[in-house]
Symmetry: D2
Subunit: 380 residues, 4 copies
């Protein structure tokens, strides 16, 4: 049994649309049957043809039309994937929810907490699934970390250190290329935060999924570097934070950190051990039990939890990456939808939902406020 889904966005070679598509198709739980990929119908059809959508009647020039018509079809889409720029997530998601169609949305969920909460309320009111693709939460070893933490391997958590340095923005500024820099540095399209919204929220959500801990308050500092450029949005962010139980944390994210591509690193320190994961080697978990030698866990092994093992598609030592992490998120979303809508049980897998998305927006808001007030503590 395969779910039918449509996509809004993803045309013109946007890489993230293709990542969503492959993620959804990976485990044969869904097939792409409809879409509104670009602003022009011509490009729309081009993408549809390339991606094997046979029925051009299900290729739409406008997402509202798509939501309306698909909702009316007997064989209408089971869900929609939203992969458009950030400023459009809210109206598009709202429209599909209103037509009774579940949503899988790229992060951030929306530009403001108010928008996010509206979407959350609407999804609940309608009883519709709503997932948000915080990619990094989909890696197998992230799941393994969570299982070990829940099992008490590292004891009570004492403190958390996390960072996500990137270099691309500075590289693009210097090399004169624009690429993503244009819209990511445009507050009208990205919202009132740059780096914090773009990657800080990835860190916040990943910590939550790895540990079960939510950020409760923050003390944040934003910078626009190099200062002489007078940039519109911050690209270097330092955050002190407090999680549940007053557990401390420290987060650094940057888009101007030369030498770092997407070096997300999360380290969880407990009173009996520590667990560390970094995106550069996603198939590695560094686990230290107190007074023992650090261990290098890898996926698919007997010592891994069953949940972790179920998230790998290849034998040990065969690298899986970003596509597969996305695939795991879609597996979670599709599995729940299959069970709920069709009574088909293909297992159960965790994935970030609209509420995780709302919390991410609150996190951004609190950071903005803390920075604006001169680096003071702000509660979420």
């Amino acid at each position: 049994m395969r779910l039918k889904f449509g996509m809004v966005g993803g045309g013109n070679g946007a890489f993230i649309g293709n990542v969503h598509r492959h993620g959804a198709l990976m485990d044969d739980l869904a097939e792409l049957v409809s879409g509104c990929f670009s602003r022009t119908m011509e490009k729309n059809l081009e993408t549809a043809q390339k991606w094997g959508i046979s029925d051009s009647a299900r290729v739409y020039g406008d997402y509202r039309e798509m939501a309306e018509k698909e909702a009316k079809r007997d064989d209408g889409i089971d869900f929609v994937s939203i992969t458009t720029p950030n400023d459009t997530h809210y109206p598009i998601a709202k429209c599909f929810l209103e037509h009774g169609i579940p949503v899988m949305c790229d992060k951030p969920l929306a530009l403001t907490v108010k928008e996010g909460e509206e979407l959350s309320a609407l999804a609940k009111e309608k009883g519709l699934l709503f997932g948000v693709t915080y990619t990094y939460t989909g890696y197998a070893m992230v799941k393994q970390a969570r299982e070990m933490i829940d099992a008490g391997v590292i004891g009570n958590i004492l403190t958390i250190s996390a960072e996500y340095p990137q270099e691309w923005l500075l590289v693009q500024m210097v090399s004169g290329r624009s690429d993503q820099a244009v819209w990511r540095m445009d507050p009208a399209r990205s919202g009132p935060s740059g780096c914090c919204a773009d990657i800080g929220t990835h860190v916040e959500c990943l910590i939550k999924k790895m540990t079960g801990l939510s950020v409760k308050k923050v003390l944040a500092n934003f910078e626009k570097l190099p200062k002489e450029k007078e940039l519109p949005l911050e690209n270097n962010v330092q955050i002190l934070c407090r999680f549940d139980n007053d557990i401390s944390g420290m987060i650094w994210t940057s888009q101007v950190a030369i030498g770092h591509e997407t070096d997300l690193l999360i380290r969880i320190f407990g009173d009996k051990g520590a667990i560390e994961w970094q995106h550069r080697e996603p198939g590695v978990l560094r686990v230290t039990k107190i007074n023992e030698a650090p261990q290098i866990y890898t996926p698919t092994r007997d010592y891994d939890s069953e949940s972790c093992r179920s998230l790998s598609r290849l034998p040990s030592g065969h690298p899986e990456g970003f596509f597969e992490a996305f695939g795991n998120l879609y597996r979670g979303f599709c599995s729940e939808l299959l069970k709920e809508k069709y009574g088909v049980d293909v297992g159960s897998f965790d994935y970030p939902t609209v509420d995780d998305g709302v919390h991410g927006l609150k996190f951004i808001d609190a950071c903005i406020e803390s920075n604006a007030k001169g680096n003071v503590w702000v509660e979420l």
Copy 2:
């Protein structure tokens, strides 16, 4: 424009069949329309349904029937993927070639040089493309290595050190599980060599693709470890070799090397520099120019060659893995087929062919002979 292809093998959850499928689908250059996946029609249809083959008439209980019927259809498959156990590659490939259908075959191409050469001759006689999926040759940084070597970055090659240690066979023996161990240790199904044929040939082909150098002679030593087990096939192989221009090399492959999952490592030493690549971090190339500090190359960067960059589907720092390496091989094969058969140009990408497969078989034969004769030099 998408090619139509069929698959022989891949049923019953065999992972490699699914890897072939995803590899072929990844860039929308092909779609799966036919197959003979398993030995029973029931499982065949199950796989067909799971993989979205709508026309059950194109699901066959026998590969011979499949070759015959597909060859007769106006919309017959453009090529076949062969993902069955090693002992069946030869008859299946031969059958499809005889019916005029191009072949993409898992490695090894066949069990004997004679079989391989027959396939090669047949493909040439019929004018049919024939690819062999030596996976590791598909990684972007392997291509980057080749481009840099061809450009003289490391000067003249002096010596090569390569290894491919794995631990799985010993782990399975000890843990009492069989999994792959059964057929891989069965000479009737794997052929007269175990470790050398299974992974030694990967090393041999990867060196060829990274450097352009072919093995000319070998001095090999085979071991069946632990000795007291009296195993049927070797699982630890040490090889001294000579490449073109009498360049020396050393290869170690093992299936009993605890602590190593699939740790293929190739190091090419020249008189002006060195290049090293290991599978554990496939997105990293270690490049040293003489008397300079070693450098860590990654994919998609401005400093990479255009060919290398074209083999990545994600922005810098987003890990790609085994699936994508397979995708790159299928991209090469499908691109050539699209151009040749339909005049559609989607670029040109290198991939291993039947002749690489034949050379691999000669390499195995020479190693077997060298070992049998007491570790003497044997020419290919």
Copy 3:
């Protein structure tokens, strides 16, 4: 020509005294001729004998007596090394300065800024050299980093990320051992700060030596973990800081970070590149020039600066460590003393002085104040 020196502290097998001794002896610029190593004369003489001090008349039961008598001798010590617990640095250093004897003191210089400033003033008034052994500043690759930064390799510095996680305190608490934990957790002996004073100052000084930048203000957060233990001094410290030119930084130091022994890591990000150094591999400097592949610099190479090369005693690839870093500090101190006092020129090498020590004390004070006031910005 060799300087004569004495040592206060270092008896009873205290490791740091022996490190000072080897550091001073390493390059044959000094010899140990006097000492007051322990509280009892018996142990004093034991150490003296072990360390080859032939004249027992120069082994003293009291440092005041030592200062007085050595000052009167014609062949009196050229300098004294102070390696006692933190609370005694100030009176001992003061005493030797008052007797006209230059001082090489373990860090921290003193327990309060006031004490430190008094020592600084006294040293200047007397015209005496006063070094402070911030060990990590002595590594060859730290010098290389400074030279490259000064040469503009990474452009203008944008931000700095530094950390120094250790695990020993938690390990000792859990294992029931005391060792160093006792006095390091005793405010009477360690001063009003634990982790910040012990290792935070190492980070602060190392950044200064690597970049030339001084901390101007801090926002600090102290924690005593695990909270239920109700410990006397903080052992986990998070600091936001501002250096000269309002350059931002982030420092994390911890003594309860399982999995980390002495993992000091400093990363300097500029608008043209970045330089990273970590203590775990002290002979490696990771250098990235914008849009180029990261490079791995090692000591003694042609591409290193002359200053860097002069700080290694072994050919490339032969690991040097903590002892040699100390040796480099002593080389700097002794070289200056040899030139100043005896007109002997053996080169010139940088080392941290009393003023670096005073700045370190101000840094601690500001962090304590910031934490006490609820994590607000405090100027140094």
Copy 4:
């Protein structure tokens, strides 16, 4: 109680002499009182003064004179360190033995097996200690490896993979510098083998000390690279070998492997686990127990053996290096001498002896013969 020793060689800034000196002095078990450091008396005295030898009567222009006179003194040296070029080890060692003076000799022991056996016989006849400084055997984690292997942690050893690639010779050839290249490439001074004698023997001895296994036969291949240079001695060596119990091994050593400074790597694979050590990070031991996650052992930890812990002088995480490895060899030699000659017990530590040195010479001889005969098996 400190032993008195003298040194032959070490003048003119030769680094290895200074390493011997520091190694001998490190633990206060010996003091340098005599020497014949260089060929001219002037330089001799210069070194003596620099190194603090107060009695110039014990500085000799000729090693024979030194042996004779020191043997006659009541306070004559307890042992001699020989740190001269390879071709002089034999006559010097022989001379001191004949005068009843124990010897600590740099490796290789001599140029031929015959010479080595003569020294061994003479030492035994005279009842004199004779150590050979195979440096790498002195590292703490090498000792830890041996203890774990002896304790059965990795089970029965199946195979060994070792390598020691260096780049210096090619770097020096290309950069036009001579430095060490001159005498190391001169058969008259280095003996009939270059790379195999210089670093191959280090590998051979290290394997013996780590595992207890001796090489029984070899199949070796020598190369002089680049071939067009027509060099006098081999600089790239590939060896297949058999240890006790017919255990297989593979050794690669090179002096022309760009990108590698002194990258000695030893990997021991057993049927229950594996242990790996590399010189680049000497304080790390990678230990994998079958079907468990690999572990990273470091020195001084509770989980280390007492023998391992006794070989570190610093707390955990403080890097020790090459000097300290030498110090451990001298600690072993001096401890035995102190006990034997003076009844002073400061513990017992393993170190390589003249018999290890003889075995190393046999290893070189067998490799030379195997290569000369066209890569055939030759027994030691």
